[in-house]
């Protein structure tokens, strides 16, 4: 095949792909939708970890209660107590412990500043108090248990978001696990997060990476078993 013919074949393959209406639909989605879907995916893996540890998980709508017909995640970070929509959380029990998994809610740090945490494990009693008072959960020991920053990268992962999350968790109490989760692997981010006090990196996590999913679930499961 000549160089010109080779390029023509590749150009035709590109056009064939990008002219599909489904491809256009997915490529024109805004990044926010991708980010939220990725957070919901990490939430599901956390629920898997609870079950794997021998616990129970009941999806609960803040308005409708257990097993909501429509599972509504937050399209933007907000208050744990907000009931303007039937936002979902996972009501979990493991041995004698009861806790909840939330997506995209705000916590009050030790400094008093509010922080958005993508996926968080919160003590159930504390979360109930927050809902009944319309207050804010605290990011201190025994209240905020695990926290994950989730990022669906569209550009090359840099260290800036990792650095921001390091700052955020430094304003929290002693978490049982703090993790930085992304769809893409990144050597430099991995290197940045390699210091022992920094969040655990789970990079390149996606449904095509079975080993990555397994590592994530196993880590969360072990932390929960040790705690409960």
């Amino acid at each position: 095949m000549t160089d010109l013919a080779k390029l023509a074949v590749l150009k035709a393959a590109i056009d064939n792909l990008l002219q599909l209406s489904a491809a256009k639909q997915i490529l024109t989605l805004n990044s926010n939708t991708c980010e939220r879907a990725f957070e919901a995916y990490v939430f599901c893996l956390c629920c898997d970890a609870v079950r794997r540890a021998g616990g129970t998980v009941i999806l609960t709508g803040i308005q409708s209660g257990p097993d909501p017909k429509v599972i509504a995640f937050r399209g933007a970070p907000g208050s744990m107590a907000s009931n303007s929509q039937d936002f979902v959380y996972a009501d979990c029990t493991l041995n004698q412990r009861r806790f909840e998994i939330h997506v995209d809610v705000e916590y009050q740090g030790t400094s008093g500043a509010l922080h958005e945490i993508d996926v968080s494990f919160c003590d159930h009693r504390h979360a109930s108090a927050v809902r009944s008072t319309a207050a804010t959960p605290k990011a201190i020991g025994n209240k905020l248990l695990l926290a994950f920053e989730c990022k669906f990268y569209e550009s090359s992962p840099g260290v800036s978001l990792g650095r921001t999350f390091v700052g955020l968790v430094s304003d929290c109490g002693a978490l049982r696990l703090k993790g930085f989760v992304s769809n893409l692997p990144s050597e430099k981010l991995n290197q940045y997060l390699s210091k022992t006090t920094r969040p655990e990196p789970f990079l390149g996590l996606n449904p095509s990476n079975g080993a990555g999913e397994e590592r994530f679930i196993r880590n969360v499961e072990q932390v929960l078993r040790k705690w409960a």
């Binding site: 792909l17 491809a23 997915i26 490529l27 939708t33 929509q85 090359s156």
Partner: protein, 159 residues
């Protein structure tokens, strides 16, 4: 298929032009951001520029990580990788959500914190990520990968 740097540049240009044509703004912006970030690499002490340094002490003092621009082949790998994330990985995430959660899955906002204009951008349905002709996308993407060959397999971009 072995591509020259010029051929890789031409394909990158075509891909970005197509993405821009149908307003895939966030994907195109992500690619441009990656281009801007370049590639971080370690500088080898034996390289000629180190020979010209004033002294061994000066050499020890300088940071050994630097940023260089991506080659056209690296840019093509990166664009293919980003298309893979959007066209293959994202629908798999949506499928995984449907399998694990069942039922109808949506994203909603608190109206009191969101303007009407912004609400549309923030609210979504999992079906938005699962268009009906998904198998055709997978087949067309796989075909493109096969034509490009081993050097352009997904996950090969240098991040």
């Amino acid at each position: 298929m072995n591509l020259t740097e010029d051929e890789a540049a031409e394909l990158v240009e075509i891909l970005i032009a197509r993405l821009t044509e149908f307003n895939a703004d966030d994907v195109a912006a992500g690619i441009e951001e990656s281009r801007r970030m370049g590639v971080e690499e370690s500088v080898r002490e034996g390289s000629p520029r180190f020979e010209r340094a004033l002294s061994k002490a000066d050499i020890r003092e300088v940071g050994k990580t630097r940023r260089r621009p991506r080659t056209n082949s690296e840019m093509l790998r990166l664009v293919i990788d980003r298309l893979h994330q959007r066209l293959v990985v994202l629908p798999k995430i949506a499928q995984s959500l449907k399998e694990k959660l069942g039922g109808e899955i949506v994203w909603r906002v608190e109206p009191e914190f969101t303007s009407a204009a912004r609400t549309q951008a923030l609210q979504a349905d999992v079906q938005d990520l699962l268009p009906s002709d998904l198998p055709q996308i997978m087949a067309a993407f796989q075909h493109l990968l096969e034509l490009l060959g081993e050097n352009y397999r997904t996950g090969a971009s240098n991040d």
